[in-house]
Amino acid sequence: MDKTKVTKDLENKTLIIERTFNAPKAKLWNAYADKDTFAKWWGPEGWETTVKEFDFHPGGRNLYAMKCVDENQGEWFGQESCGLMEYDTITEPDSFVYRDFFADAEGNKMPGMPEVTITIEFVEADGTTNVISRITAETAEEIEKLVGMGMIEGFTSSTDRLDRLVAEQ
């Protein structure tokens, strides 16, 4: 079932991701704010998440690693990719804002990768909750880059692969 909607708004340098869940918003909030719950779903299918640091407070950070454990994903299998979130504003239970970075395993930000600000908003109606993620970058180019590299955010190996592919020319 394709329930997730992605809209590209290049004018505002923003990507909007929307998904409605059949659950009250307190539960959705918990899925982001609770370390163990977050680790259970953040990695896409075939990817396992290990949370190394987790402090869901303004100024706090979340350092996580995602590892591909699915042999069917070809060259991704066995690869690890780290992400860093720096929480900015937290307005429980409605929304929170964080900065998102590609990081190395120690949590150092990777240079040259898109840096984005993400606002997550929870809107409840009739027992369902719409989760709206607004991903804003400095430039429209970075948004394109994010989508293009995209597939999986935090795929730190993408640039290495790109370099290799270009070198093979």
Binding site: F21, N22, A23, E141, G148, I152
Partner: protein, 108 residues
């Protein structure tokens, strides 16, 4: 795959410039002549011509000759290409959210 990567690189480069994005937006709506495009911006004919070359190289636009004029239109495959990446990105999120969905149902 290599072709795709280079193509994607060209697309990023093309979209990095606000004038080029604006040209794309205009030709997406209707076919325009090079002369009509030049009139819309406060830059030289040569500059617009250069922008069009970049867009053409990225296969985002098509040019055809009509009498003495060159007509510019959006290349339909350009959008397909862009949509493909957006679709992969969307699928990644769908995959992530499906897991969350299952988790939420279990917790009831």
């Amino acid at each position: 795959m290599v072709e795709q990567t280079i193509q994607l690189d060209n697309i990023f480069h093309s979209l990095a410039d606000p004038i080029r994005r604006d040209i794309l937006r205009r030709v997406m709506e209707c076919e325009l002549s090079v002369g009509e495009l030049v009139e819309k911006y406060e830059v030289s004919f040569a500059a617009i011509s250069k922008h069009l070359k970049v867009l053409e190289k990225a296969h985002l636009i098509k040019r055809r000759k009509e009498g003495k004029k060159y007509m510019v239109t959006l290349a339909p495959e350009a959008l397909e290409e862009a949509d493909k990446y957006l679709e992969q990105y969307r699928r990644m999120w769908e995959s992530r959210y499906s897991k969350l969905d299952v988790l939420l149902q279990e917790g009831k």
